[in-house]
Subunit: 312 residues, 2 copies
């Protein structure tokens, strides 16, 4: 794999690597510049960016320096940074926190090992450090996440024990049962407030997706659009507990996505169901939307169960 690209300008080697926060900010700055349509020569005032992102000047300067290294902006002595050329294509894959990546890998590795029987039901955290050759803190973070998702439990004394079969149809069915209780209710919360801007964008995104010829590589994109859809609706509910419950479920699905694959037909049907829900909400028919949501979840569950019976 040729990853030489990551360090674009070998001429200007950075003394200190940017922190994850700085990398994230660089991405967000680009996105903001793109959205506001900033042109060549646009002056990036540090203080403004600080306010915008709620951080101090230090990480902002780090982000700007990073963008300078990438050739997006230019530093002028005592006059700060200016935009070299309008931002056209915001990098689609926002820079992921390397730590998140490591966590996810370990999570999946542990889940796999457990499902295939390579790991016993009970295991010491120390054992995981040895088996997967990672730092203890990483193991602890991941175990906490798994515990949070109901996949594993701390034993009294030492060690952790896995719940009966991490990736069982049981886990899936409980997940659906839970979502079926929550997500239709989200749309009926008294403080529910549809973000109409978002709804419009989401509708377009769904339509665009529907037009594309289906390719397997789109699966990940579809998964992301799907999660985002459900999460945003939960956010509109104005109920933080509903939101965090939905986020948790999304996280569970994300960690297990190597198993949650759908067929084309279901994807298209899913898109239509999403669109119908949006339409109902835009018309203020929350009760209808809620019923549609329940139907949508039931349909998804059914497909998932069918697929689970014929594992690849």
């Amino acid at each position: 794999m040729h990853t030489a690209k990551t360090q674009r300008a070998t001429a200007k080697p950075r003394k200190s690597a940017p922190s994850p926060l700085q990398a994230e900010l660089a991405g967000r700055i680009l996105k903001a510049l793109n959205e506001q349509g900033a042109g060549t020569g646009h002056h990036l005032v540090e203080q403004d960016l600080c306010r915008q992102f709620g951080v101090s000047r230090t990480p902002i300067r780090g982000a700007l320096k990073l963008l300078a290294d990438q050739g997006c902006v230019e530093s002028r002595a005592n006059r700060g940074f200016v935009l070299l050329k309008p931002v056209t294509n915001v990098p689609d894959v926002d820079p992921v926190d390397p730590q998140d990546e490591e966590d996810k890998q370990l999570f999946v590795a542990i889940a796999r090992a457990r499902n295939s029987g390579k790991l016993p039901v009970e295991v010491a955290q120390q054992e995981l450090v040895r088996l997967f050759d990672v730092k203890l803190t990483t193991v602890l973070r991941v175990l906490r996440q798994m515990a949070d998702l109901g996949l594993v439990e701390r034993k009294p004394g030492n060690g952790w024990s896995f719940m009966a079969s991490i990736d069982s149809s049981r886990t899936r069915s409980e997940s659906y049962g839970f979502r079926r209780a929550i997500e239709p209710a989200a749309l009926l919360q008294p403080d529910f407030q549809l973000d109409r801007e978002w709804a419009k964008r989401s509708r377009e995104l769904h339509l665009a997706f529907r037009r594309k010829p289906w390719r397997d590589v789109l699966a990940v994109k579809f998964y992301e659009m799907n999660s985002e859809f459900h999460e945003q609706l939960a956010r509109c509910s104005g109920n933080r507990y509903i939101l965090s419950a939905v986020q948790r479920q999304n996280q569970l699905r994300s960690f297990m996505n190597y198993q949650w694959v759908y067929g084309v037909e279901r994807v298209l049907a899913s898109i239509d169901e999403h669109l119908a829900i949006l339409t109902a909400l835009e018309a203020g028919r929350h009760r209808d939307a809620s019923v549609l949501m329940e139907g949508h979840l039931l349909a998804s569950r059914r497909t998932n169960e069918l697929l689970a019976q014929v594992p690849e």
Copy 2:
């Protein structure tokens, strides 16, 4: 405060203080002895206790030594421990983990300080260490809990920021909105399985409670019975996500209980509602039980809102 009692037998000072796990085990052993009606001279076999509680012999021995110090059991050379007299009154307040206690105190202290405006919306964890004179790890644990309950959020960069008003009617109303979605659904889960033994005990406990003349000191007891009731029903649902959501809500209420106080009438009504739910479930009328649960939550919410309008 005379806390001399804590070390009953000054004649036999323990070399090493028992660990939290050992203290907990001591309590559970007593409870088990009580339930199985073990008589004087009952031989406590270490290996059996290990299996029963899922730990190794070391903490079990620590627990037994602790019980020996308290005069409950006696150690006989090379023959282990025997029960001195049948366990009659299991200490009602099971030994609480001192760490939990510390966490709870800090939690409440922070919530109070924030509600009274003594703490700003944004604060560094280090600042909390100074203000409340506790260890950093404690602060981090508590902040994690608060974040889990949607009361606080980590800022990008440094510091944490409180959500708008920790103990607002808003938090309460979101909590009820969430429970209303989940708890009635719990009773309709396909794998719902009523624990009939528990149901019987719970009914008796409720009835006993109903007969007692109301005193304010019973408030805590009522709160505990109430949480236990809702949590156990969630457990019977067979859905781990419902269970953990209900547990989370109970935790939120527990941390805020200095505000969630009820009047006598509501307590009695609540008991009756609980009993009606039990009756429906025992008769297999889950649909009815679910409707009753929804009514119960609505009634509780209403009372709570009324009380909130007239803060003491």
